[in-house]
Symmetry: none
Subunit: 418 residues, 2 copies
């Protein structure tokens, strides 16, 4: 068959006005690229049918896969479905499965189902429904004259789940796509450029059919190795051998090769496998480490609790920090953060603890302790490790960085005790 | 003159393939909206001339202001300038001012100027140069047949400065622009569809020059009222009077009309203005409420601390919950969450407290307490309010919803005590 070309279309005035950031199109073109489908155009139009009709007509001339997001909600300004009917000269019919799903959705919440909610079960007659387990607006799949039209809700988490669970598997089942194998290498605690320098020689000698991408986020740099070809087992072989030699170069920073691994989940798995428990004592991170740990399903097995000791009184009364240490060394100091970690171990009777104390900013900095100064401690029942970090000036970044680095310090401590 | 319609075009493979997030188009359409110019289409295409030529031709049919970003760098995959010459059937000429600027730029840094750097001074003959004090790639302004074409570098900070210092002032000097006024109405604790039904009559009777948009996110629905016209004071008058009547319909859910308001910051401002303090006792939200509160700069003034009581032992030992209540009513119950809130008030000696206990999922649900069941309590020193919510099946959404609803319950309690 011919090569597949995709276009991604976002519908919504709020994106045109620039009032919300469109993250959907990036996610979609990324996912399509991962299965070897090239996006050739992205467009955003407003919630008006003439714009939607013209962008659909134009895309039909260029692409054979067209993904639309947005405009499937129940409210007045959402007109995508009616416009799709107009475009394909069809009409809306009730999808019984979706209606039952929407009805149950409201029953479960003990909320009355309104007409406009029931209308979510209306789909164009010629559309195949992509069932939305995660919301009330169904996805739609329409094929006409060799072009596939996919319409998804604009709510990011619903769109993402529909892409991953419905759209991508269906596309893969329909077309013989080149085999593209990805290997994700997760690192923490090293900058993108230092990492690039460290692996420069290895990267320069990569075989032609392998590509390396740097995917940096706060505290984490993911390296994505991508191999393309038609001999699947050969592809897997070459990517695995390159992976092995890469790992040897970056051992101190590496923590997982699971594609969508999260550091907090990796740490959780280690704790579970060792039947150990964890608690946190947080000042500058304000509960964000506890949130990260408990964002993992099943974390109640190993996470017992946290104290957010924001005010110094709380540090003294709840974690038994020596007040004179706060007076002399300051709350942001090695001795205080170490006592916080030990305090958490005792208070929650856990095997491990993470503690943070720092200046998140924007205010509160000084010459010797500028904004971004953070002390982190990780403790086991017989060992305690402290580190000082100097991050930047942006509050939310400092909170995230301190949380990620704290989790990585715990990961390293858990590795030791193997 | 006729109304101005803008299109924003981004050029670059890295955006098309989803390798980088495009923040430029949002900034540009936002700035255009602020001076009353409506963006009617956004497109992104790759670094190939045929795509650039076709998107330019299409945009010329629809818009009278076309802003392009990207593809102005010195490297060979940057072909925007040559393609623009092709499109306007003109040729590149040296802009002496830019050449002098680029030369000085490299002299100042003691770096040799390469041919490809000198080429940055080449501009299409028919273009007016938008001088770029902040980088080496000049902006360009071309007018043809009543359409204005503006080409800007893709480097965000250069693009932003060129927009603010060159493009917007020039547009404003050329046209008498309509005035567009936005009013944002933030609501919490009500679904988009229920809200739509509540205000249906009001919405149906909105004057023609007013438009309403629903911007839903987890737990929060923002309503954006947009009014357009030439008489600025009249516009402000009409939007204010419509705003007033809207507020009366949605009082229980409304919490702010500050354009980019965040609930946690609004609650923080209330606490600060009353010189009151807050703490949290969190089970299912796992510290996320504390994180939201402490994500606000200056929150240390009113936030003292939190206990994340994930394990029942912690609820009993740290918050003095009656163990028999946990045995009889269960940890997810009104009596336990009420005791948690009171426990936090005492433990942290604060004026207010928020407590949560629920089943975030995916496991742990039962017939009478399905996944998504959450009890929330807010307490002052003389009052305690408890509510039961039934959210959905997705863990991270349940955590977010419980946190947002808890903050809204506190907001309501703070309002009462006025």
């Amino acid at each position: 068959m011919n090569e597949l070309f995709a276009e991604v279309i976002t519908i919504g005035d709020e994106i045109l006005y620039g009032q919300i950031t469109d993250t959907n199109t990036q996610f979609i073109s990324n996912k399509l690229a991962e299965i070897g489908i090239k996006t050739i155009r992205k467009s955003s139009v407003g919630d008006d049918s003439s714009s939607i009709l013209s962008v659909l007509a134009e895309a039909t001339q260029r692409a054979n896969i067209i993904v639309l997001t947005g405009g499937l909600g129940p409210t007045k300004d959402d007109i995508t479905k009616h416009t799709i009917c107009h475009f394909f000269d069809t009409n809306l019919v009730i999808d019984e499965a979706t209606l039952a799903h929407v009805t149950a959705f409201f029953e479960k919440r003990g909320r009355p189902m309104l007409d406009i909610n029931a209308q979510q079960a209306l789909v164009p007659k010629i559309a195949e429904v992509l069932f939305n387990d995660w919301g009330t607006a169904p996805g739609m799949w329409i094929e006409k004259n060799g072009v596939i039209y996919i319409s998804l809700p604009g709510v990011p988490y619903e769109m993402k789940l529909l892409m991953e669970k419905r759209v991508l598997p269906k596309i893969k089942s329909l077309f013989k796509l080149p085999c593209i194998v990805h290997k994700m290498i997760h690192t923490c605690g090293v900058g993108e450029s230092f990492l690039a320098q460290t692996i420069e020689l290895w990267e320069d000698n990569l075989p032609k059919n392998l590509k390396l991408a740097y995917l940096p986020s706060l505290g984490i740099v993911k390296l994505r190795l991508t191999a393309t070809g038609y001999d699947e087992s050969a592809i897997h072989g070459v990517i695995q051998s390159q992976f092995n030699s890469l790992i040897n170069l970056i051992k101190p920073y590496y923590f997982s090769d699971v594609f969508d691994a999260k550091l907090e989940a990796i740490v959780g798995d280690l704790l579970k496998s060792k039947s150990k428990t964890i608690s946190t004592a947080e000042s500058c991170t304000g509960g964000f480490i506890a949130h990260k740990i408990t964002s993992v399903a099943g974390s109640s097995v190993y996470f017992k609790g946290s104290i957010v000791a924001y005010h110094n009184d709380i540090k003294v009364h709840q974690l038994h920090i020596n007040p004179s240490d706060i007076d002399n060394a300051g709350a942001v100091s090695e001795t205080v953060v170490a006592q916080m970690a030990q305090g958490a171990l005792l208070k929650f009777d856990t095997d491990y603890a993470i503690a943070t104390s720092g200046i998140a900013g924007p205010d509160g900095g000084s010459v010797d302790k500028p904004v971004g100064t953070v002390w982190i401690a990780v403790a086991s029942r017989d060992k305690i490790i402290t580190k000082k970090y100097t991050f930047g000036s942006i509050r939310e970044n400092n909170i995230t960085l301190a949380s990620v680095y704290g989790l990585k310090m715990l990961y390293d401590l858990l590795q030791e005790s193997n």
